[in-house]
């Protein structure tokens, strides 16, 4: 399969002229960092560009940071897997950004406090311990969130340029990209970031619109919609259709993520805090609402076009991404969009698009590296030293942290094994931070009774969002309510395993307590009826061998005493092995549950443990 993928990527139109275009762009970016280096002498200039960014530059830098290559890749992946229904994510993001721009919800009040980072606000509102804890949670969630950026970006470069994905090309590209970003972020700080963001905006906006146009032209406007209708049905258009992979729960989750992306996510908020005035800030968000929508909609479109191209015009790719044989493993669909672009774009233009995407990659990375390193310096290290660190020391620490974080994302990109869509991975990891942050910021800015105890509790509870990650659920699956404990395998037959039969329990007595409390708490967790035909269909079976090895597989069909999988990914189960079952919780469900939980403990903690000092101050 790898050689087929190599063959597929090698059919790109990417040529020498395209390499020249990319090289010129990269040189330009690094030169800018050296040019503005002399202005990055103090922490405010280094982190917030001296709080002197005008509206249009603010729009460019907000778009540049939030429209990264990772955004293009995960949105294209969503378009590829879900069709036009994925557009709802971008539309909701745009509408929410517009509402925030018009109302100034959270961001304006935060800007009025003249803080550099969100945890710095925590200290002003809740005290130093909250700031340090908030900084730790922010760094933890943020670094996990950023962990796959480098790998996904490198996959794009490999896919579109025609390098060999099976060799070491991916690792080499990861290292080169990382080195480039580190150089100009370490040197120039936020000033070089906003200027390169501007250049990226110009190149990317032209590039992405042209790419979208050519993508539609390559598959045909009518064919685009017809093919999605044939292969995906109503679910390809309607995000709340019964058979859709989204549903109302997911749409609600996207609405909250829209607020997060604009008003809570530190990289976006850092842009808001760098604006010259609150009026500029509101204009920045109002205009950027278009970018917030388009940054997902056009990549979604590229993904949909790639899907249609694969299904109707490239039989070799269809075998790769949607093999007819269930035993053949499909290639990672993240490669679909870059391979598609590599085949349809002409030489020269493909270089421009690649430069634009690398620009997107770099502008996102610089913003994120700067943001997380600043958070660790300003909100964890500096408070621990009781603010005795001088400016040169802080900048030096920030620069060292930028390099260390870069090395971490290289490591994480190589070794993380989760199978979620990238967008869902990012939403869940980000939720570790933003579920708590929402309570703290919203409560702190708009509710006088918010207390530091409630804040600390909310931050700690936010960590439960980590249970939305596939590998974490695998690890703790026996504790997920509704999961079925291990039972011995008594016989095997090709893809079917047999075990002691499940028996339907006797009817339980009616109980008001059970109906009101237990049923309510258990609502988010599915309860299987494995004694029924296909009662475990869609559940995950975890087979543990006698020597301790483990594999998980989705149950294709089941009966009271047997379960069948489409294939065994690891090993053939044997008599004496054990099997347990659980229903994976979607990231959206875990995220929404975490939001509710954090708000609950925040309000409860604030009401039960109000801040004594705040009361004293109030009575003065």
């Amino acid at each position: 399969m790898e050689s087929a993928l190599t063959n597929a990527t090698s059919q790109t139109n990417f040529g020498t002229i395209d390499w020249v275009i990319v090289a010129v762009y990269l040189l330009l970016s690094v030169s800018i960092a050296f040019f503005v280096k002399r202005y990055a002498g103090n922490m405010t200039n280094f982190v917030s560009a001296g709080r002197a960014v005008g509206t249009w530059l603010g729009v460019a830098t907000l778009t540049g940071t939030e429209m990264g290559l990772i955004t293009v890749m995960y949105s294209a992946q969503k378009g590829f897997t879900a069709g036009f229904a994925a557009f709802h994510i971008g539309v909701i993001a745009g509408v929410v950004a517009l509402l925030i721009g018009l109302t100034g919800f959270i961001v304006v009040r935060l800007r009025e406090h003249k803080v550099l980072t969100i945890p710095e606000y925590y200290e002003k509102r809740y005290g130093r311990r909250t700031r340090i804890l908030g900084g730790v949670m922010l760094a933890f969630g943020g670094l996990l969130n950023m962990g796959l950026f480098l790998k996904v970006g490198a996959m794009f470069i490999v896919g579109i340029t025609g390098m060999d994905p099976g060799g070491n090309a991916l690792k080499v590209v990861m290292v080169v990209l990382l080195a480039l970003v580190l150089v100009y972020t370490v040197i120039g700080g936020m000033i070089s970031v906003v200027i390169t963001d501007y250049i990226q905006f110009v190149i990317l906006s032209v590039g992405i619109l042209v790419a979208g146009w050519l993508a539609i032209e390559s598959v045909g406007w009518d064919n685009l919609f017809d093919t999605v209708r044939i292969h995906k049905g109503e679910a390809g258009f309607n995000p709340v259709a019964a058979e859709s992979s989204f549903g109302f729960e997911y749409v609600g989750w996207m609405f909250f993520l829209g607020i997060v992306n604009c008003a809570l996510w530190p990289t976006a908020v850092a842009r808001a805090l760098a604006m010259e005035s609150t009026a500029s800030l509101k204009r920045q968000y109002t205009w950027s609402s278009i970018s917030f929508a388009i940054r997902m909609i056009i990549p979604n479109l590229l993904g949909v076009c790639a899907f249609v191209f694969v299904m109707t015009k490239a039989p070799d790719l269809q075998q790769l991404f949607s093999p007819a044989d269930a035993d053949v493993e499909a290639v990672d669909n993240l490669y679909a969009m870059p391979i598609f672009l590599g085949r349809i774009l002409p030489a020269g233009l493909i270089g421009l698009i690649t430069a634009a995407m690398i620009a997107a990659f770099m502008s996102t990375h610089d913003g994120y590296l700067l943001c997380w390193s600043t958070v660790i310096t300003q909100d964890i290290i500096a408070p621990l030293f009781k603010e005795r660190l001088d400016n040169p020391t802080r900048i030096k620490i920030t620069r060292i942290l930028i390099v260390l974080i870069g090395l971490y994302i290289l490591y994480w990109g190589l070794f993380y094994t989760g199978e979620e869509d990238i967008w869902d991975y990012m939403a869940v990891t980000g939720a570790i931070y933003f579920t708590g942050a929402f309570s703290l910021l919203f409560g702190g800015l708009y509710w006088h009774r918010a207390s530091s105890t409630g804040a600390v509790l909310a931050l700690l509870v936010g960590v439960t969002a980590v249970f939305g990650l596939g590998p974490v659920q695998d690890y703790v699956h026996t504790y997920i309510p509704g999961s079925i404990a291990e039972r011995n395998i008594t016989a095997t037959d090709d893809k079917t395993i047999e075990f002691e039969a499940f028996k339907e329990p006797d009817e339980m007595e009616e109980s008001a307590f059970r109906d009101m409390v237990v049923d309510f708490v258990m609502t988010p967790f599915e309860q299987a009826k494995p004694w029924n035909r296909n009662g475990l269909e869609g559940w995950t079976a975890v087979v543990r061998g006698q020597t301790g090895q483990e594999q998980k597989v989705e149950v294709a069909s089941s009966w009271a005493d047997e379960a069948t999988a489409s294939a065994w990914p690891g090993f053939e189960p044997q008599v004496g092995d054990t099997v347990s079952f659980y229903k994976p919780l979607s990231g959206a469900r875990v995220g929404l549950m975490t939001i509710g939980f954090t708000l609950f403990v925040f309000i409860l903690g604030s009401l039960i443990f109000p801040d004594r000092k705040q009361k004293e101050a109030t009575n003065e």
């Binding site: 202005y39 405010t44 517009l98 619109l209 258009f237 205009w287």
Partner: protein
């Protein structure tokens, strides 16, 4: 909550400078927590907001409808027929074309305005560098 506290809140951000003096390692007196300001009674102009909303909505709708005319070349009946037959499909067509059109417009504005902002930013930083100013306010 007293008004005095809110007045205190409005000035306190500057008491927590991010550039502490290196010469005075003694902890500064801890400032009181910053409480949310009371809602301002000063009314801002609502007209620009309404205009922006109307412009955005009109832009998306107009661009979408115009492009659908251009693509389908079959007038209102075809558009209404398409909506009736394929509601979601129609919604995404309008969204796609409308947002792309608006983004093209935004790109032009940002390209021109952003270049001017960069010049202003560098000039301001140069001035600050010359005057030895280390932080800025509004």
């Amino acid at each position: 909550m007293s008004d005095e506290l809110n007045e205190l809140s409005s000035v306190s951000p500057n008491t927590q400078s991010m550039e502490p003096s290196v010469e005075s390692p003694v902890d500064p007196p801890k400032p009181p927590p910053v409480l949310p300001p009371r809602p301002s009674k000063k009314k801002g102009s609502w007209l620009p907001t309404v205009i922006v909303i109307l412009l955005l909505m009109a832009g998306i709708t107009a661009l979408g409808v115009i492009m659908i005319f251009a693509i389908m070349n079959d007038g209102w009946r075809a558009v209404l027929g398409a909506v009736e037959k394929d509601g979601w499909e129609w919604v995404w067509k309008v969204t796609l074309i409308g947002t792309c059109g608006l983004f093209a417009l935004l790109s032009v504005l940002v390209t021109v305005g952003g270049a001017q902002d960069i010049r202003k930013l560098l000039r301001r930083l140069r001035e600050r560098e010359a005057s030895g100013e280390s932080d800025s306010g509004d």
